[in-house]
Amino acid sequence: MTDWYKIDRQGGDRLTDIRQFLKSVLGLESVSAMLVPRQLPTKDAVMPSLVSRPVLLDDADPLAPAFAVNSAKNISQLTRKGLDANIAAVLRPCEIRAHIELVKLHQSASEPVLIIGMDCLGAFSNRCYQAFLEENEGPASEAFCRARLSGAEPSNTVEISPACRMCEQPIPEGADIILGLYGISLDEGLFLQARTERGKEVLDNIGARGAKAPEQREQVVQSLIKERTEKRDQVFEETAAAVNTIEKLSEYLSGCVNCYNCRVACPACYCRECVFTTDVFDHDPLQYLKWSERKGALKMPTDTIFYHITRLVHMGTACVGCGQCANACPNDIPLTQLFRMVAHRTQAAFDYQAGRSADEPPPLTIFKEEEFDEIVGLGS
């Protein structure tokens, strides 16, 4: 038995097929609305939109190389307080991983959401996406898709974001339904994989028919992952060398103005208000003077490195590598590289991988009677 399905080409291109597929899903009685990247009427931006009228899916554009927000946050908004309806969401792999992390933290619910995951082709940063639009005089999602799948550069002027270039998890494994792109000819219809019972039911209901797994796919994906992993490790090495003392870390973060955009954009940073913006860090005026006295000079605003290290400690184990922190940074601090590098180490320390499974409790919420004895004592 195969869990693969196929929907034949209905004429037109891949995007049209996808839209058609999404419409049939939204047409199901069990789906009240669909969260999907959609072109804004101005055509200069693609944003997640909650679509309830199927006809409006004609503007859906999940292939667009735009990634302004991590939609896991939107799902949190929709489900955190309890949602009495079922929705579908078209998500990138990193969004799904973030969603799973948020479910563990009771910031999202998994039950009301049917997740349709797209094989991820990567995206531009917000600024680069604008350049891409200009270069192509409009949304050229299909072309982008073709270029990425064929290994060609999608743009002459801009590169896709660093997070995507080093992303070794381009397959949306936590989805109910995977919409496959890698290893599948663009001229064929849609290949869909049911990953859960629920996904299978939906695909059966919309009349998709069972199919053999796309032959090339496994091989294409593996070599992509290999390539990306190499890239990733290279970035880790460079980044580690760039921050291996507190002094260098200061340099790395010297552009930071304590705007906290990174944490607002971060899907894992779920705090309603960051502790660094609460009264805990609203120091007594005299305190600043004392600090200044002690070291001779005090950088203002204060607590910058403190903030970033704390965020690494707090959210490192939940980091899914989506790159939104860097995307949000007004001063172009390469935060993604830093976060991913540290997160990779901390997650490995606990044999944990953010977003891998909803059944894995976050590392700091559990403990064993006997573990990590090597860190106890003075090592002598």
């Binding site: 779920y270 502790v275 805990v280 976050p362 700091l364």
Partner: protein, 1149 residues
């Protein structure tokens, strides 16, 4: 007229005494906690490690609900509870009266050191020339005659051991605070009469004592002595037991008739010790054996001198008495001393081994041989020394030594990094409590070796360097060499057992232990007097704590019954409850300058200047000589009307003042928490050492940093009005077996309503099918009386054929639905007790179900009581122990089965002596005095075959395998003869043990945990054995673990005591050091809920917010640490405060 009394006397401040005292104090009684020793804690003060955690955790005895009642610190440092008056170095001389109205006479032994002046500096001990064996370190080291009794106890007040002190006065002259009183002038007023026929003795004594300044007179005959006594008053008479004209005892009697307060000490030659003991009964203070050496006699005389003048008598009136004086240990040097104890320094008792590996022990925790301090590579434990040995008159097991040896061996391996070889020579391994089998398995895995054999003797190896042990294994006799031999010495009755037995008419068991009444572990034949802990036989901590709780419950009931009040008198002092949260921190810093010494080291002006720049500090006060009463009084005087709300006292030896914090607080009208005492002097300050500047950067900056750190801490003290939570003053008990009923009677006995819910159609549970106990007590009769007492009690509402369908809420406020459908009732209770019992384990092993001749113990017991067993018609019966028990998945001992088998076997053998009975066992679990039944069973000719789980017996059922035999055949291996044997049996009785039937759904609704075997999971196996971590939820009986009837009842009473403590007041007061949620910041991630070990947090269903139950919260801060954005904060120890402390600690550059 009997006076109402709301107080209790607890004699013995060991584990059991402490537990009883805390139980009673928490419940609202005033408790006098008396101990002969100068410190509390009993043996626990000496044990750093206790099984089965191998660590301590004694602090878990402290109240978890309403924690502010008691000190929040390691119990080894001391216990401070508003309702407990600790009377150390005190002895109970007499108890008279009746339940509800006892009068106890207490004798306070003088220590000659004023605890309010002693700073614990230890200079006296350095100066003292007398060196004696340190009993605290089990004789492994020496101490001085003036010493600190327990290393960690606060304040570190020293005491003088009057039996060793020579009154040389060296300590008096070096004491910097004049704390030691040893007035030489008074000796001239102390008159001693020496009555002895021999002039040489008279002269010797007169010269000796007169030389010390005493006033001495002599008499050569009984008549002459009495003449002198009639004409003038004496303090002390040294009276020879054989006077020429009359018997010494007669002289004694007449002398006491003339001068009743006279201390008479009999002197005797060795031969007449027996009559000397007689004379003690006639009123003599003591006896001394001639000839006297000067070194021995003088301390004795001084002891009488000190006792007579300063030893204080005190009378206490109490409603109930708990005797918890523990037990003694067998002295292996007594008698034959086959193990060379006392001869070879490397043969030690298990208590000495505990000291050997203790951080406060003689070698600082290093595992070395006492003889040469060289590392130990191989250790042997010899079990059953003075236990299970008829030759030392000990036909009993000491119950704890198997486990303590296992623990010590594991620790030895841990300390030695796995390099130390450890062998335990044992007989049976008595792992009869719930977690012990697993613990034993862990030990085996960690490499501890077990050798089943009793050791014959210990000798020196040929080269004299090691110890040789001869033992036997299956291959014959062997010899092995060890560096250290630990003797697991057995129990002996408490020194005082006989005294209390005579004083109160209490029964002693054949071995001299105070014996409880049948079906009880704590009740005595004297109403109002209870036994706690090991006084009626050695127990582990779990058992001691349960017994202590049961004793407290008995005492509480007795006091209550006689009209004693359960209510505490609210403190009228408003300062102690002053709400300082509403005020900005306003700190008074008091700095003791110690004459000119502090100024010589630091720049005082700079310091004061820097401290006063702290906005929270309103004033700095320099005082001098706090260690003198004058200085202290002056300081207190200064505090009056100071407009401050926190006080920082900076001194040396802060610990010496710790117990006087309340004095400062009261003087300033502040809660105690608002006062902090801080060491700002170097630690050797008091020892007279001037700080060496090149070694310690002791300077103005150092003091400033110390003070600022303390100030930052003080700013964070929050002491506001504590939250009060109304309580439903009734209890819900689920399960109407003996445990449930006992608990119900205990709670109702305090005047509270109880709902007793039983799912069956009658009360009684397992007792309905049990006939007699092994000691012959009539179970049916006991059941009947208990059931009728329950039915007759108007406060107990019995719900038969019912279950608890639903339950919500938490401590103090549980709401439940009892029964289902239209009969359902809603219950409101302050506490819930689970007494859901257990059932006999099911099995499919050993042919069970395939033949009617294979039956379980329960089936046999039932058949026997129904007359369906005819012993005369049987010729052979076999029994198999540990069926599906003591191995995974049911890896625990069921405790009752060995005794049941012995009971059945002896019954059969009594009924038909020709009947052969075979018991196939792994280890016979007959702990304590049950051992004697094992001996009896062996004597009756019952044959025992040991087997191991690797080679279990095999059973062939008639007709099986085409076999034509008519009887069962059991094949086993006898390891001793190394042969397989085959038993043909008419009957095979299987000991399948006990499995619990705890309702899992209710447990999760109560947020209480179930252990891996389905038993109730205790908050702590050792220290909190009848309660859950979720406050207000208790368990007793088989729901906790397999136990005998009296043990079930004891656990029920202990649980009842804890429950009464929850419901006896209309309100429960929350602790102040708890965590709170700032809802505006909280994202509801619920990490805190899972982090909280006490189940104190949950989502409020109405608002969807995280709510903290202030009664359950213990303020550990696990929630705060896991909360990423400080939405959870600790009332004391918030992030802001911690940051300030870190800043202060980093100090000035």
């Amino acid at each position: 007229m009997a006076e109402k009394s709301g107080s209790a006397l607890v004699i013995g401040a060991g584990i059991s005494g402490l537990r009883s005292a805390i139980d009673l104090a928490e419940t609202g009684y005033h408790v006098f906690l008396v101990d002969k020793a100068p410190h509390i804690g009993g043996i626990l003060e000496q044990l750093d490690h206790q099984f089965p955690t191998n660590r301590c955790g004694m602090c878990k005895l402290l109240p978890a609900v309403e924690p502010d009642q008691a000190s929040q610190q390691c119990l080894r440092r001391g216990l401070f509870h508003g309702n407990i008056e600790i009377l150390a170095s005190a002895e109970v001389m007499d108890i008279s009266g009746e339940a509800g109205n006892f009068c106890a006479t207490l004798h306070q032994h003088p220590t000659l050191v004023d605890p309010n002046r002693c700073m614990g500096c230890g200079q006296c001990a350095e100066a003292c020339p007398v060196e004696v064996k340190d009993t605290f370190n089990a004789g492994l080291s020496t101490r001085k005659a003036i010493y600190q009794p327990a290393p960690q106890a606060l304040p570190g007040t020293h005491v003088i051991d009057l039996s060793a002190c020579t009154h040389c006065g060296e300590c008096v002259s070096v004491c910097p605070t004049g704390a030691i009183r040893m007035a030489a002038a008074d000796r001239k007023k102390f008159k001693i009469l020496v009555a002895d026929e021999a002039s040489s003795v008279r002269e010797q004594l007169q010269t000796l004592m007169a030389g010390e300044g005493f006033l001495v007179d002599t008499a050569e005959s009984g008549e002459a002595a009495l003449e002198k006594l009639k004409s003038e008053a004496f303090h002390l008479v040294l009276l020879d037991i054989k006077m020429p004209d009359m018997e010494g005892v007669d002289v004694l009697k007449e002398a006491l008739a003339v001068q009743p307060s006279l201390q008479v000490v009999m002197t005797t030659a060795c031969a007449a010790v027996q009559s000397a003991v007689e004379s003690i009964k006639a009123g003599a203070a003591d006896y001394l054996v001639k000839p006297f050496s000067e070194d021995f006699l003088l301390p004795q005389i001084y002891r009488f001198y000190e006792e007579s003048g300063k030893g204080r008598q005190r009378e206490l009136s109490v409603g109930a008495v708990i005797i918890a004086t523990g037990c003694r240990y067998f002295n292996p040097a007594e008698g034959k001393d086959i193990f060379g104890y006392g001869l070879y320094p490397d043969v030690v008792t298990h208590l000495a081994f505990e000291r050997l590996i203790s951080g406060t022990g003689p070698f600082g925790g290093r595992l070395v041989r006492p003889s040469d301090r060289r590392p130990v590579n191989k250790i042997a434990w010899i079990q059953c020394v003075g236990s299970r040995d008829l030759q030392t008159d000990s036909d009993f097991c000491s119950s704890i030594c198997c486990m303590s040896a296992v623990k010590e061996a594991m620790l030895a391996r841990e300390i030695g990094g796995g390099q130390v070889e450890t062998v335990i020579f044992h007989m049976d391994l008595r792992v009869f409590e719930k977690p012990f089998q697993q613990y034993l398995d862990d030990a085996k895995r960690s490499g501890v070796r077990f050798q089943r054999c009793r050791v014959h003797s210990v000798a020196c190896s040929e080269d004299g360097a090691r110890l040789a042990i001869r033992y036997v294994d299956m291959d014959g006799a062997r010899e092995a060499l060890f560096d250290l031999v630990v003797l697991s010495v057995g129990q002996r009755p408490a020194e005082d057992a006989e005294k209390f037995s005579e004083m109160l008419g209490l029964e002693l068991n054949p071995w001299g232990y105070l014996a409880p009444r049948p079906f009880s572990l704590t009740e005595t034949s004297a109403p109002g007097v209870f036994l706690g802990g090991a006084v009626s036989g050695l127990t582990d901590i779990n058992d001691a704590v349960i017994r202590a709780g049961a004793a407290a419950c008995g005492a509480s009931k007795a006091i209550h019954k006689s009209g004693g009040s359960l209510e505490t008198v609210e403190s009228a002092d408003d300062g102690r409850d002053r709400d300082i949260n509403r005020e900005e921190p306003n700190i008074l810093v008091i700095l003791c300058v110690c004459g000119d010494r502090l100024k010589a080291l630091i720049d005082m002006d700079v310091l004061l200047d820097r401290i006063q720049t702290e906005p929270a500090v309103s004033q700095c006060l320099e005082v001098d000589g706090l260690c003198s009463p004058d200085g202290w009084a002056k300081m207190l005087e200064e505090l009056k009307d100071k407009p401050v709300n926190r006080i920082l006292l900076a001194t040396c030896a802060a610990n010496a003042y710790a117990h006087r914090r309340l004095e400062i607080a009261d003087a300033a009208g502040l809660p105690e928490a608002a006062v902090q005492i801080k060491d700002v002097f170097p630690s050797d300050w008091f020892a007279g050492g001037a700080p060496a500047k090149e070694q310690t950067p002791y300077n103005t900056g150092y003091v400033e940093r110390c003070l600022k750190l303390a100030i930052a801490g003080l700013k964070g003290i929050h002491w506001g009005p504590a939250e009060k939570i109304p309580v439903y003053q009734s209890a819900l008990i689920i399960g109407g077996g003996i445990a449930g009923m006992t608990a119900a009677l205990a709670i109702a006995g305090h005047g509270f309503r109880v709902d007793l819910v039983e799912k069956a159609e009658q009360l009684g549970g397992n007792l309905n099918w049990l006939g007699r106990t092994i000691d012959g007590a009539d179970v049916a009769e006991r059941l009947q009386t208990t059931v009728s007492r329950v039915n007759d009690n108007s406060l107990i509402h019995v719900h038969l054929n019912s279950t608890v369908a639903d339950i919500r809420g938490s401590v103090g406020r549980f709401q439940s639905t009892i029964g289902e459908g239209k009969n359902a009732q809603t219950g409101h209770h302050g506490a819930v007790l689970l007494a859901t019992g257990g059932v006999e384990g099911a099995t499919e092993s050993y042919g069970y179900g395939k033949s009617p001749a294979v039956m379980t113990q329960k089936a046999f017991e039932t058949a026997r009581s129904e007359g369906r067993i005819d012993p005369a018609a049987l010729s052979s019966v076999a029994m198999i122990q540990c069926v599906d028990c003591r191995e995974p998945p049911r890896n625990y001992c069921s405790r009752v089965c060995c005794l049941s088998s012995l009971k059945h076997a002896m019954y059969l053998k009594e009924q038909n002596p020709d009947l052969s009975v075979y018991i196939l066992y792994r280890d016979m679990m007959t702990p304590g005095f049950y051992e004697t039944y094992y001996t009896q069973a062996r004597r009756k000719g019952i044959i025992f075959f040991p087997y191991t789980p690797e080679a279990k017996p095999e059973v062939v059922v008639p007709g099986q395998n085409g076999d034509g035999a008519s009887r069962l055949r059991i094949r086993a291996n006898d390891p001793i003869i190394g042969q397989s044997v085959e038993i043909e049996a008419d009957l095979l009785i299987l000991a399948t043990g006990i499995t619990p039937v705890l309702p899992g759904d209710l447990m999760s609704k109560l947020r209480a945990e179930v252990d891996e075997h389905g038993f109730f999971k205790e908050a702590d196996f050792k220290w909190r054995p009848v309660e859950s971590l979720a406050a207000g939820v208790f368990a007793c009986g088989l729901a906790l673990s397999p136990r005998l009837i009296d043990e079930s009842m004891a656990s029920a009473e202990a649980a009842a005591m804890r429950a009464v403590r929850m419901i006896n007041r209309q309100y429960l007061t929350a602790g102040r050091k708890i965590a709170v949620v700032r809802h505006s910041l909280c994202s509801g991630c619920q990490l805190c809920i899972s982090a909280c070990p006490y189940g104190a947090r949950e989502i409020d269903p109405e608002f969807g917010r995280i709510e903290v139950n202030p009664l359950k919260c213990q303020g550990c801060g696990a929630c705060a640490a896991i909360c990423p954005n400080s939405a959870t904060v600790l009332a004391e120890g918030s992030e802001t405060e911690m940051f300030e402390m870190i800043d202060a600690a980093m100090g000035p550059v």
